[in-house]
Symmetry: C2
């Protein structure tokens, strides 16, 4: 069996595992996958040596299109504001479609991801890595003046959390749309700098 | 028994019910409250005619300080940016303290609130009502130019959702702080208008 055959078999098993997740509404184990695929348990274990490897493969499959989107946007020749927008909007639209297609399965994946957060963490870090590149590029063009990259990253992530967090999507779905996301990004580009405005005022001064 | 006595007794029972929620980690019924308080079931039913009345009273108690904060801030003489900041920051600080004091109880209240969302809805609407007043005042001073109030309300709520949503607080606690909230509000005041920026670009134009 060649490496390509192995990859193909692995990929088919991941698809089958995801169908099982949807059908049964629970996490899928290698034993369940062996029963369902009618492959020998030893074959399954050859492909997924540990139980966690099956889960990792599902996570990888879930995030692969998001990674492709981010890579494509970062490498594109779009103006920087448009890059920011596409970076968030394309993933949001995809996520919203997945949620609306089957809210229960979406909620289940979320729950599984939260229970095994370490394996999901890498993808969140990767999104931060790509966003940092966009922030650096924006700063090179004079935006987000004076802000450290990590600070800009954190503020931007917080301002668009409605469009990146699957948890928030589940809560606010009907109120979210791409035109609002575009306005939030326009607001950032027009207003986010290190300059202190008058919101916080003198520190610790509260109402008289 | 005077109205004041009745009010006092009701308030004591609500406190007891909240202690029970924390101790038992479940929703509290009138029967549990009767057992614990050693009052006759009929007495409890006089004060809380329906099961939902007990839950309503707990919700009322939970939100009372938030309402006081909002009323105080709206009525204050602070400059408008400071009002926005205090409107969100004071409630956030209080919520974060409650969460950190007992994350499990906090999660339980959230779960109970979600299961009976209709009773919680009124408080969210009230927060939107007060925020609308602040938006109108800001617009009278030339901020958020050209935006309809409902649109401004929605965009602002989305940009600060990290600081208002207990669900998001539970996810991101360590990354949230008042100085970031202040910067987000400064960003809004500097950049949020009806003017279309270049984020969305030509509609439906995607990467070539």
């Amino acid at each position: 069996m060649t490496q390509d055959d192995l990859k193909l078999e692995r990929s088919k098993l991941v698809k089958l595992a995801m169908e099982l997740v949807e059908r049964k509404g629970t996490e899928v184990t290698r034993q369940m996958l062996a029963n369902e695929s009618q492959l020998a348990r030893s074959r399954i274990e050859h492909i997924f040596p540990e139980e966690a490897d099956l889960f990792d493969a599902i996570v990888e499959d879930w995030y692969a299109p998001d990674i492709a989107i981010m890579e494509e946007v970062v490498a594109s020749e779009l103006p920087i504001q448009r890059k920011f927008y596409e970076f968030f909007a394309r993933r949001f639209v995809r996520e919203q479609e997945r949620f609306r297609a089957n809210p229960d399965t979406f909620a289940l994946y979320l729950e599984l991801g939260q229970a095994r957060f370490e394996q999901v963490r890498g993808y969140i870090d990767l999104a931060d890595h790509y966003l940092s590149e966009l922030v650096a590029q924006a700063q090179a063009e004079g935006h987000f003046e004076g802000l450290k990259i990590d600070r800009a990253l954190s503020l931007i992530n917080q301002m668009v959390v409605c469009y990146t967090s699957p948890q928030v999507l589940m809560m606010l779905d009907g109120r979210l749309d791409e035109s609002k996301l575009a306005q939030i990004i326009d607001t950032m580009f027009a207003g986010l700098t290190a300059q202190t405005g008058s919101a916080a005022g003198v520190s610790n001064l509260r109402l008289a």
